[in-house]
Symmetry: C2
Subunit: 198 residues, 2 copies
């Protein structure tokens, strides 16, 4: 086997969810691409790894010290939505329904994986709130045990701000989900939090 | 969204089988990798695309003009196994059972996709055989309509060599396959080509 092919396959295989067979398919696909396209790809990957930063205010990925969302004067600076990871910001942004700011924790508290509160950007969140101007914190962390632990930890930390409204995104049956296949916990929650039909 | 992240996700999305969600996951994984590891990856991809060649004898991928298999004095030069693509060479090599040479066609004849016999390395195969020394050609192309068309086309081209043995790899029930789930054509073929139990 060609050493060059072997190296390319080996490198692709290091990516998550990509086995040797897929890696080989990706490598063979490179040969069908223009050399310039492949150069654009390797350049984008290298630049992303070497130049991207974390926003000093919200810990979102950013090209500058402050991310485009925190820097946008049009955003509502009284509301902060706390999420686990960068991908969550993108999911919420894709709805085009939220105009506030974000705060990316960088994970959830997980004693099993050795992730302590100090490993997350919780102090930064508290500092931001202490600086004033934030009226509501929306907690949008996952419903896992780790997510709930993180939620309660943050809620405790935020008790020091008496005027602050702390909310959690609604849990319930997703649109398009069939009740038959929804887990008991979600159904229980959805029943308890039922609301009047308007 | 960070422009750097956007670019990295966009480039990953160009690869086959990688949607935007997977591309985002791959990009985020890059941040967990050491910068040197990412540099090794982009370098391996770039070098593969720019430096890999096709073996002048068998059309397999190669770092040199002649691939390691064609250059290996230990290989049996009287037998050539004709395959569609580079991945097929690797699959056969992984069995460690074949010691002959290969010939990579680079695809199959497909009028639907506009692939004519002249787009495949069939002339090169005929030239290699005309040069003498090859006693058997094993056809290991796929059993699709295109594969069969290619098989018959090559068989016709090889009629000019009366002493040449032309074989096709055996079709039948794969090891571990349950008869219940095997298609009728394969079962029919396997029945017709039944052999005495030794």
């Amino acid at each position: 086997m060609s050493k060059l092919l072997q190296d390319a396959v080996g490198e692709f295989s290091k990516l998550p969810g990509i086995g040797r067979r897929t890696a080989l398919r990706l490598a063979m696909h490179l040969l069908k691409m223009e050399r310039e396209s492949v150069a654009d790809m390797t350049q984008a990957i290298a630049r992303f790894r070497n130049e991207v930063r974390y926003c000093a205010k919200c810990n979102n990925l950013s090209d500058e010290e402050i991310c485009p969302i925190c820097a946008d004067p049009e955003r509502d600076r009284t509301t902060v939505c706390v999420v686990e990871q960068v991908a969550d910001v993108l999911s919420i942004e894709n709805t085009h329904q939220y105009r506030g700011l974000y705060h990316v924790l960088g994970g959830v508290i997980s004693p099993m994986q050795g992730i302590a509160p100090s490993d997350l950007k919780i102090d930064l969140l508290v500092d931001n709130i202490a600086r004033g101007g934030i009226e509501e914190v929306i907690l949008a962390v996952s419903t896992s045990v780790e997510g709930e632990t993180t939620l309660f930890y943050i809620m405790n930390r935020l008790r020091q701000f008496p005027g602050l409204k702390v909310t959690s995104i609604a849990r319930g049956i997703g649109f398009g989900d069939e009740l038959e296949y929804v887990d008991e916990l979600t159904i229980t929650h959805a029943l308890r939090n039922r609301r009047a039909v308007e």
